[in-house]
Every structure is written in structure tokens, then in C-alpha cells.
């Protein structure tokens, strides 16, 4: 037991003594948290639109007025011909081109069918659908407004189903409240996994590991001794990150923070097992970095952080079960935003505990003092 303490002490001295690494481990992740939370905003806030009006009527001007009045649309041009509007789309200056056909008002007043033409840059499918959705909503409102001007006798009234919608837990649909807890969880794990993956392989590259291997130290003592300082760093980062989230983004913390910390502890142990296991398998720090980066990348992309897990195909959803980042992100969001209790996240705890056992077992087994 005392031997363990000496290893922990040594790791701490090395970590704290490295003036170049210290800011990279403390300040940088917090800056990342702030920047990422501002950047990782999937809300489509601004759509650049180019409108060609071939009608030049009262009605077309009213429509354009309603579009430009929306905060979400920026009118970047009103070219006189449709061909010129297409240029805006090609050059990428416009996201959407709206063409208002000639005789738009005339045909409408006669009760004939009129069609607007909408060209959407659909390379980014999601942004395209959302942007077009905004425009359709405006056109729907426009339809309701202009119907009021049509004499009721000439109208055909159909039965309606109205929809009243409400969003629970985040009524203002604040995207940052959703992203900050997830990003924080992700950052804690990336940092810890990368540092631990480069740890023992570094001692092997420098040669200090040989000196350790001739001492009577046990594999588990060595692994555990390396792990404890990283757990501290991870927990510290979580604390600072949560504080930052509260102060800067006013992230709601509905649930019990104790559950978050307890889960973080468990998750760190699991993730450190992965990192140290990688470190024991590879020969150089460069390899360690690449392998760790590869796993981190797969973990992040498939964690549900940026795209909902529910949208993935069945097999991909199964693959998220052994993904520690997916569980961390889920627990952070559930507990902080919805106030989920221990019972609600019991499944995440159970899976993570299994991951921790498996990977730490592998880490201890793969650390060989004798070759």
C-alpha cells in the first residue's frame, strides 16, 4: 500500500513539474469547452437568400417583406433574372434561391394555382431541410394572411387539427444547455485517455521502465499508481468545467451532482483502463497517440454527442453500448437537464462498471515485467 503512495507521489511530481503540459491539461480544455459550446450549435440561425422577383406586384413585395422581416433570413441579392440567381448558388453566396414567377399576383387573385420556385443548396442536408423549413413556415403564414383578404364566400373551409406543442426540460430550446454537459464529458475523457495512453509507453521509450521492472513492485500497484493522478485531474476538470458551465452558460443542474461525480469517477477508471492498455500494447508514443486518437474519434462520433443515437441504424446503436463517451454524455444530460436519479441511470453505471473491470484487467495483464 505504501509503495502505491510513492508511485502516485512520483506521478504527481512529474505532472505538476512539467511546465509545458500543465496549462495544456487545465486551461486549454476549459477554453475548448467555452469555444466548442459556442461553435457546436446545430441550430440554423442564418440563411442567406437570393430572391428573383419576376412579378413586381403588391403581393410579391408583401412576400419578400415577410421573408426579410424574419431574423433568420439575410437577403444577399435580388438579381433581375433567374440565371443570375443560380450564380449566387454556385458561388456559395446564397443558401437558398427563391424565384417568384411572372403573373404571380394576377393568377392568385383569379384563384388559379400559383407556385413559387425554391432552389436549395442541399450539400449539407440537415441545414438545407431546416432552412427550407423556415421558409415554408413563412410561406404558410403568408398564405393565412392573404386568405383573410379573399371574400369568405369564395373560400372552401376544411376541418382542422391544431397542434399545441411544448418542449419539456428545456422550454426555450437552448442548444447550449444541451451541448455543454455533453462536451464537458467528452473533453474530460479525451484528455485522460490520451495522456494515459502515452504514459507507460513513454517510460518504455525513455528506458525508465526497466529500472521499475527490477523492483519488487506489482503490476497492479504500478497501474493503479499511474491511474490515481489521472482520476484526480479528470475530477478536477469536471468540477471546473461544471462551474464554467454554470457561470457562463447558466446550464441548469436539476439533478443530484453527487450522481454526476460518482459516475465520472467510475467512467474515468474505465477509460484509464483503455488508455493504459493501449500504452502497454504499442511501442512508441507516436503509435500510442494514433491508436488513442482513432478510438477517441470513433467514440466521439458514435457517442450521440452531435447526432442522436436514436437516429442510428440498429447495429450502430448496439456499438454504442461499449462506448464510455456515449454513457458519459447520456448521464450528464439526463441528470443535469432532466433531473434523472440513480435508478434512471443504473444501466449506464452497470455497463461502465463492466467496461472498467474488463479494460483494467487487460491493462494489468498486458503490463509484463518479465518478457
Amino acid at each position: 500500500m505504501r509503495r502505491l503512495l510513492y508511485i502516485v507521489q512520483k506521478e504527481f511530481i512529474q505532472i505538476l513539474g512539467n511546465k509545458a503540459m500543465l496549462p495544456l491539461m487545465t486551461v486549454l480544455p476549459i477554453i475548448q469547452l467555452i469555444l466548442l459550446s459556442f461553435a457546436a450549435d446545430n441550430e440554423v440561425k442564418n440563411v442567406n437568400i437570393s430572391i428573383t422577383d419576376l412579378d413586381h406586384s403588391q403581393l410579391s413585395r408583401q412576400l419578400i417583406g415577410q421573408i426579410t422581416a424574419s431574423e433568420r433570413f439575410t437577403l444577399i441579392g435580388a438579381p433581375p433574372a433567374t440565371r443570375l440567381a443560380d450564380e449566387d448558388l454556385l458561388a456559395g453566396t446564397a443558401d437558398i434561391v427563391l424565384n417568384i414567377p411572372p403573373a404571380f399576383e394576377q393568377n392568385f387573385l383569379k384563384g388559379w394555382p400559383v407556385k413559387l420556385q425554391l432552389l436549395v443548396n442541399a450539400i449539407n442536408g440537415q441545414a438545407a431541410t431546416v432552412g427550407a423549413g423556415y421558409l415554408n413556415a413563412i410561406i404558410r403564414d403568408f398564405n393565412q394572411d392573404i386568405r383573410l383578404e379573399v371574400p369568405p364566400g369564395r373560400q372552401f373551409k376544411a376541418p382542422q387539427i391544431a397542434i399545441s406543442a411544448a418542449n419539456w426540460y428545456n422550454p426555450e430550446l437552448n442548444y447550449k444547455h444541451f451541448m455543454v454537459p455533453g462536451i464537458l464529458g467528452e473533453l474530460v475523457i479525451i484528455l485522460v485517455i490520451l495522456l494515459s495512453a502515452m504514459n507507460t509507453v513513454r517510460e518504455r521509450e525513455i528506458g525508465t521502465i526497466e529500472q521499475i521492472n527490477v523492483t519488487p513492485i506489482r503490476s497492479w500497484q504500478f497501474i493503479l499508481g499511474k491511474m490515481i493522478p489521472f482520476v484526480f485531474i479528470g475530477m478536477l476538470l469536471l468540477t471546473v468545467g461544471l462551474t464554467t458551465g454554470k457561470l457562463i452558460f447558466d446550464v441548469p443542474m436539476v439533478g443530484n451532482l453527487g450522481v454526476v461525480f460518482l459516475y465520472c469517477l467510475l467512467n474515468l477508471v474505465a477509460v484509464l483502463g483503455i488508455g493504459l492498455f493501449i500504452s502497454n500494447l504499442v511501442d512508441t508514443q507516436q503509435q500510442a497517440m494514433l491508436v488513442a486518437f482513432f478510438f477517441v474519434m470513433v467514440f466521439i462520433l458514435m457517442s450521440g454527442l452531435f447526432t442522436p443515437i436514436e437516429s442510428m441504424p440498429e447495429w450502430a446503436q448496439m456499438l454504442t453500448i461499449p462506448n464510455p463517451i456515449a454513457h458519459f454524455v447520456a448521464v450528464m444530460r439526463k441528470v443535469l437537464l432532466k433531473g434523472s436519479g440513480l435508478a434512471d441511470v443504473a444501466w449506464n453505471f452497470r455497463i461502465t462498471a463492466i467496461l472498467a473491470l474488463v479494460f483494467n484487467g487487460l491493462a494489468v495483464l498486458s503490463y509484463r515485467k518479465v518478457r
Binding site: 509545458a20 495544456l24 486549454l28 466548442l36 459556442f38 461553435a39 450549435d41 446545430n42 441550430e43 454556385l90 456559395g92 392568385f108 384563384g111 407556385k115 413559387l116 425554391l118 443548396n121 442541399a122 450539400i123 449539407n124 442536408g125 438545407a128 431546416v130 427550407a132 415554408n136 392573404i146 379573399v150 373560400q155 372552401f156 373551409k157 376544411a158 376541418p159 382542422q160 387539427i161 391544431a162 399545441s164 406543442a165 411544448a166 418542449n167 419539456w168 430550446l173 437552448n174 490520451l194 502515452m198 508514443q285 497517440m289 491508436v291 482513432f294 474519434m297 462520433l301 458514435m302 442522436p308 436514436e310 437516429s311 442510428m312 450502430a316 439526463k334 432532466k338 434523472s340 434512471d344
Partner: protein
């Protein structure tokens, strides 16, 4: 020239002997493309829904059937109260609750007006919005079918999805993956190899050799240029054959842009390695100052126009932003230089500036 070739050969052997690294270097883009193509989609299906049906009449059953058979929703539970729904939300089992009021059918046909209630788990705002949009669309169609004909005096919309009519997400991410992988190999790997030579003390050995510093640096980066280019080709081929992502424009123009970007990335890598004293520092430096920003601020994952003003400015100094613009232009829109001269110019300028900066730094070190 002779000594340069010999040096390149030596560096190549180093890389080729390290099979593990090679496997990762080529496995990473493949995995990324496949994950993005198959797993990480914003395409939307089988969202877990709970229905509280207080009407239990013909029309309500038909509506529920319509929601489920659309493929977008999956009925997982039928709770009795709002409290039960809350519990389902908190356990994360349900993302949307649909309340159908009593007398749904009779209200619809007699009073011509009835109100459904949609309750979404708003903790994920985008998912909630998407759920509500799809839900309303289905209800809208349902209403029109039962209402007996469309209303007159309506402005219709004819929508054309340009460049990606089937909304295939691969169109958007293939250029992004190319940008990230090229950065990873050209910038991160180079900075690590040079930092390693420094850490091991072998850099001094090279510097006192008759090789000129320029030869050393060129020799170190040449293999990575070749690796990067073959990786880019691999990704483009995968995109073309697996996901039908086209290359509408000139292939040679595309190759030229890739080379230009690789140069930019290499000069970044060299710059980092002249600053970093250890492999760990080089890794952290390139990870947090290059890879993360390039992934998140280049328009690869999140639309730039929606970012706050400050971050849009940051996005404007990230090489990947311009490279992705170039790739999308050539591949998906089939554009030529008359549309793309601006991003090309920006990338070229960045490369020149970065190269001279790192050259300057390197000089100082050798003195």
C-alpha cells in the same frame, strides 16, 4: 539531390517498417467514412414515442397508425398519465409524447376543430424540433386526406434540392473527412516525427551532418506528402464507389487543391515542431490547436453562418475552411477557377506565411 533521395528512402523505410502505424493511417479514413456514411446520420427514423390516447375512437387509432407506419416514429409505450410520461422521459426511453384529446373524432367532423398536444423532450433541442416538424407534417397530410380536398387560394411551393437531391449525408462529410485526415497525417504526424528526433537527441546529429537543414526537413516531409495524397485518393474512391459521391469538376484541379492543402498542413506541422520540445507537447499542441478547431469550426460539422461573429472570424483563419469550400466546389458543383480563385488565393497565402515562419523559427534553433 542524391543525398535528398537517400534521406527520403531512409524515412520511408522507417514509416513502412512500422506496420501498426500504417494500418491505422489507412484504417482511420476508412473507418471514418464508413461511420459517417452509415452510423452518424441526421436522417431520422424510429424515434421512440409514447401515445396517451384519451379518445380511443376510429380516427385516433388511424392517426397513431399513420404516425408509426411513416417509419419516423416507433410506439414504445402508452402511459396513462403525464407523470408516467415524465418518468419515461427521465429514463431516456421516450423522446416525444402525443396526447389525443377525448372526442377527437366527433370534434374533427362536427366542430371542424380539434387540438392535439405534442410534448417533446426538449433537452435535445434539434431533435425535439425535428420530431415536432415531422409530426406536424404527418398530421397535416392526415388532416388533408380526411378533410375532403385541398383549400383554394393558396400559394404552393415547388422545391428543388440542388447538388444533393437525395440529401445523402456523404456529400457533405466526404470533403470534411479528406480535410481532417490530410491534416492529421501532414501536420500531426510530421510534428511528432520531428519532435521525436529532438526528444531522442538525434536531431542534433542530423544537423551536424553534411545534409543541409532544408534537405533534412524536405526529406522528413516528403514521405508524408505521398502518404497524405494516397489517403486522399482512397477517401475519394470510397466516397465514389460506396456512397456515389461524384467528382463533377476537373480531377487535376482537385489533385492540385489537395497538394496545396497538404503543403499548408505540413508547414503548420513544422511550425509546431519547432516550438514543441517533446512528442507529448507536439501532440497536445496539434490536437487542440489544429484538429479540434478544424473539425468543429471549418463548416465540416456545424454551419459557419450560424456561429457567433467571433467564431466566424476564427473559422476564417482555419485552412480547412477554405479547403472544404474548394472540394465541395469542384466535386459537387463542378466549378472551375473562375469561382474558386478566392479560397485558392487565401490557402496559398497562408502556406507562404506559415512556411516562412517555420523556416525562420528553424533557423533560430540551428544558430
Amino acid at each position: 539531390m542524391q543525398s535528398y533521395l537517400a534521406f527520403v528512402r531512409k524515412e520511408f523505410y522507417h514509416i513502412l517498417r512500422d506496420t501498426r502505424t500504417l494500418v491505422i493511417l489507412f484504417g482511420m479514413p476508412i473507418a471514418q467514412v464508413l461511420i459517417f456514411g452509415y452510423a452518424v446520420t441526421n436522417e431520422f427514423r424510429d424515434a421512440p414515442v409514447a401515445v396517451i390516447d384519451n379518445a380511443r375512437d376510429e380516427l385516433s387509432r388511424e392517426l397513431v397508425h399513420e404516425l408509426v407506419s411513416s417509419g419516423y416514429f416507433k410506439l414504445v409505450d402508452q402511459p396513462a398519465t403525464a407523470d408516467e410520461l415524465d418518468a419515461l422521459f427521465r429514463a431516456g426511453e421516450v423522446k416525444l409524447g402525443v396526447f389525443i384529446p377525448p372526442d377527437f373524432e366527433s370534434d374533427f367532423f362536427r366542430r371542424k376543430q380539434t387540438t392535439l398536444q405534442f410534448l417533446a423532450d426538449g433537452s435535445d433541442p434539434n431533435y425535439a424540433t425535428t420530431l415536432l416538424n415531422y409530426g406536424s407534417q404527418i398530421v397535416g397530410n392526415f388532416q388533408q386526406r380526411h378533410a375532403g380536398g385541398p383549400e383554394n387560394y393558396q400559394v404552393g411551393v415547388e422545391m428543388q434540392l440542388m447538388y444533393n437531391p437525395e440529401l445523402i449525408s456523404a456529400y457533405n462529410f466526404i470533403p470534411g473527412v479528406v480535410a481532417i485526415i490530410l491534416l492529421l497525417i501532414s501536420a500531426m504526424m510530421t510534428s511528432l516525427t520531428i519532435a521525436k528526433e529532438k526528444e531522442m537527441g538525434t536531431m542534433d546529429l542530423l544537423l551536424v551532418s553534411p545534409l543541409s537543414p532544408l534537405t533534412i526537413i524536405l526529406g522528413k516531409v516528403t514521405p508524408y506528402v505521398l502518404l497524405s495524397m494516397s489517403n486522399a485518393l482512397l477517401i475519394l474512391l470510397l466516397g465514389y464507389f460506396v456512397f456515389d459521391v461524384p467528382v463533377l469538376g476537373s480531377f487535376w484541379l482537385l489533385t492540385g487543391f489537395c497538394l496545396l492543402y497538404v503543403l499548408t498542413a505540413l508547414s503548420l506541422g513544422i511550425l509546431i515542431s519547432t516550438k514543441a520540445s517533446s512528442q507529448q507537447a507536439a501532440m497536445m499542441g496539434s490536437l487542440f490547436s489544429l484538429l479540434m478547431p478544424s473539425m468543429l469550426l471549418s463548416g465540416f460539422i456545424f454551419p459557419i453562418t450560424s456561429m457567433p461573429w467571433m467564431l466566424q472570424k476564427v473559422s476564417g483563419v482555419i485552412p480547412a475552411t477554405y479547403f472544404i469550400e474548394l472540394l465541395k466546389g469542384v466535386m459537387l458543383k463542378g466549378l472551375g477557377m473562375q469561382y474558386l480563385w478566392f479560397p485558392t488565393l487565401v490557402l496559398a497565402t497562408m502556406t507562404v506565411v506559415l512556411l516562412s515562419l517555420s523556416w525562420f523559427n528553424f533557423k533560430i534553433r540551428t544558430k
